[in-house]
């Protein structure tokens, strides 16, 4: 151990797959990719230090998930721009697409193009921006059904904030649990475990097709121990939130937790690989 970080050999044995990599998250840059690629490069020292095997990012695909109409038009006209990061790091990056929950038709078309016929492995339901809508919105179920047919993974942004929601578009873990209970054969990932994880964990506990993701809040001690106790290690997936969060904040939640080495391997990669196996077997 050096500076509190396990040895490179130990980290390699964990086989870390990062489910929540957020380079240039709200906008990939005016040319459709440069900002994204720069941010991925910015993250690479931490990725290498953490010995990550794979990282999954969430692409904008020109269906109105940004506030930049020029970019949206560019991505529609040149969809090959979406693939640039995957081409740049073919052995390191995985991709999912950000859906526009306010434009179901465009999102359905994007599912065919990028999940069924393309390389993407799942979808991101945003919690803010023009593509965001509360996950209880009735039309969201149509998207869930289609993602299920394709075997994709659903990552839902969740937060449970003291003082209440900052916007009605945000979703809480309780709301995701309600949505997930209507689609018991689809797995959902509750991004950030709701932020306030003591309630977030409880909110999804009785909904076995919901897993929690570990990133996006301070390295508050006791999180992984409670999550493992209440949900079991099979329902937790690691996320880094790099580069806006840091390797230290995010990996220490798992590597420093008082849980077994087997549980750490589940959380840091094994569970996520299992989720991705479904769509990968369809491709």
């Amino acid at each position: 151990m050096n500076f509190g970080l396990p040895s490179a050999e130990t980290l390699q044995q964990y086989r870390i797959w990062d489910s929540y990599f957020t380079p240039s998250f709200s906008h990939p840059g005016p040319d459709g990719s440069r900002g994204l690629i720069d941010d991925i490069q910015r993250s690479m020292p931490a990725v290498q230090l953490g010995q990550f095997e794979k990282l999954c990012y969430f692409a904008h695909v020109g269906i109105g998930t940004t506030t930049d109409p020029t970019l949206e038009q560019l991505l529609q006209a040149k969809p090959e721009l979406v693939l640039k990061p995957l081409q740049h790091w073919p052995n390191k990056l995985l991709g999912m697409i950000q859906l526009n929950l306010n434009n179901i038709a465009a999102s359905m078309t994007a599912l065919d193009r990028w999940l069924q016929d393309g390389p993407m492995l799942g979808v991101y339901f945003p919690g803010s921006g023009p593509g965001a809508a509360n996950c209880m919105t009735p039309n969201v179920s149509k998207l869930v059904d289609r993602v299920s047919e394709l075997g994709g993974v659903i990552m839902q942004h969740t937060w449970l904030k003291t003082g209440g929601k900052r916007s009605p578009q945000e979703s809480t873990p309780s709301e995701l649990a309600t949505l997930a209970s209507r689609h018991p054969h689809q797995h959902f990932i509750c991004a950030h475990a709701g932020g306030e994880w003591e309630q977030g964990i409880r909110a999804v506990r009785e909904t076995p097709n919901v897993l929690i993701e570990t990133s996006g809040f301070d390295a508050t001690a006791g999180f992984i121990e409670m999550a493992t106790r209440e949900l079991g290690s099979k329902r937790i997936v690691f996320g880094s939130h790099l580069p806006s969060r840091s390797l230290g904040t995010e990996i220490s939640k798992v590597t420093s937790a008082s849980i077994s080495e087997k549980d750490k391997k589940d959380i840091l990669g094994r569970n996520y690989r299992k989720l991705l196996n479904v769509i990968q077997s369809y491709k």
Binding site: F3, P45, A221, G248, S256
Partner: protein
């Protein structure tokens, strides 16, 4: 393609500081070693009021700190947040620290309580603590209030430093029953000019770009690293306020102690900068050597 934060550092630092911060080309971050002496300026003892924390027992906490390589920890008390018998709080803190040579007691002070100066005198005078820690968000005052200037003047007169908890917990995850706003640091600029010998450290701030500009404009104030997040967050903070104004702090046991430590390695700063942040700056701060103002 390789990317080195040292390039970023080198492009922004002033000439004098850059030689301290920038890693040499042959010095890869993963090969930097922990200094033999490491000072964690931000640790708390006893129980967090809102849940049990894995390391909230002193033996377990000290064992973990030693395991990581921390040789000295400036410890205050979580009891200082809500208790009103502050003398009792600080007596327990002092007793606990006397049993653990690596712990340096930093008394908790609430200047909204009657006769709070008596508590400062006990901490910095009779008990010879090097400093005090305050929690404005939890105790209901602001740094623009007269009582803060009196506190700062009193602590300075007694030769102690003042640690200001910017917060203890992200405002988004606090208990609905006990919420505490972040502390506005801007009034500090005036007080640091008015009291030129004052020594102030801000704890637990996750500085935004505008926060960094504010801190850069406040003479001599130093920050801890406990919530400085983002993979290059430490580097951008150093660039903004100068490496001599950044002190290692973990906010353990509320935050996982390894988190802040790994971020030092992750930052890619040079061995000299690691020494400054993890050891030398804390020693200088405690011994009254006032850090320079970068801007």
């Amino acid at each position: 393609m390789a990317f080195h934060r040292r390039d970023l550092i080198h492009g922004v630092m002033t000439a004098g500081a850059a030689s301290v911060v920038a890693a040499s080309p042959a010095e890869k971050p993963a090969t930097v070693s922990m200094p033999t002496k490491v000072v964690d300026t931000n640790v708390s003892l006893f129980q967090w009021p809102f849940r049990r924390i894995p390391l909230d027992e002193i033996n377990a906490l000290c064992s973990k700190l030693r395991q990581i390589g921390i040789t000295e920890a400036w410890a205050s008390s979580f009891e200082g947040l809500l208790h009103r018998d502050i003398r009792g709080v600080n007596t327990r803190l002092l007793n606990a620290c006397q049993a653990k040579p690596e712990l340096v007691p930093v008394g908790a002070i609430n200047p909204t309580l009657p006769d709070w100066k008596h508590d400062i005198n006990l901490c910095l005078g009779r008990s010879k603590m090097p400093g005090i820690r305050i929690f404005p968000g939890y105790h209901g005052y602001q740094l623009s209030d007269k009582v803060f200037s009196e506190l700062l003047a009193t602590a300075t007169e007694l030769g102690g430093f003042v640690q200001i908890a910017f917060t203890l917990e992200d405002t988004r995850t606090q208990s609905h029953s006990v919420t505490a706003p972040n502390t506005d640091p801007r009034p500090l600029k005036h007080w640091m000019q008015q009291i030129p010998e004052a020594k102030v450290q801000i704890l637990n701030c996750r500085p935004s770009t505008s926060d960094k500009q504010i801190f850069a404009s406040i003479p001599r104030v130093v920050l801890d690293t406990s919530r400085v997040d983002g993979t290059d967050g430490l580097v951008t903070l150093v660039n903004a306020i100068g490496v001599d104004r950044v002190l290692y702090g973990s906010h353990a046991p509320f935050l996982i102690p390894e988190a802040a430590c790994i971020r030092i390695l992750e930052s890619g700063i040079s061995a000299a900068a690691v020494n400054a942040v993890m050891t030398e700056n804390a020693d200088k701060f405690r011994k009254s050597e006032v850090p320079s103002q970068k801007n």
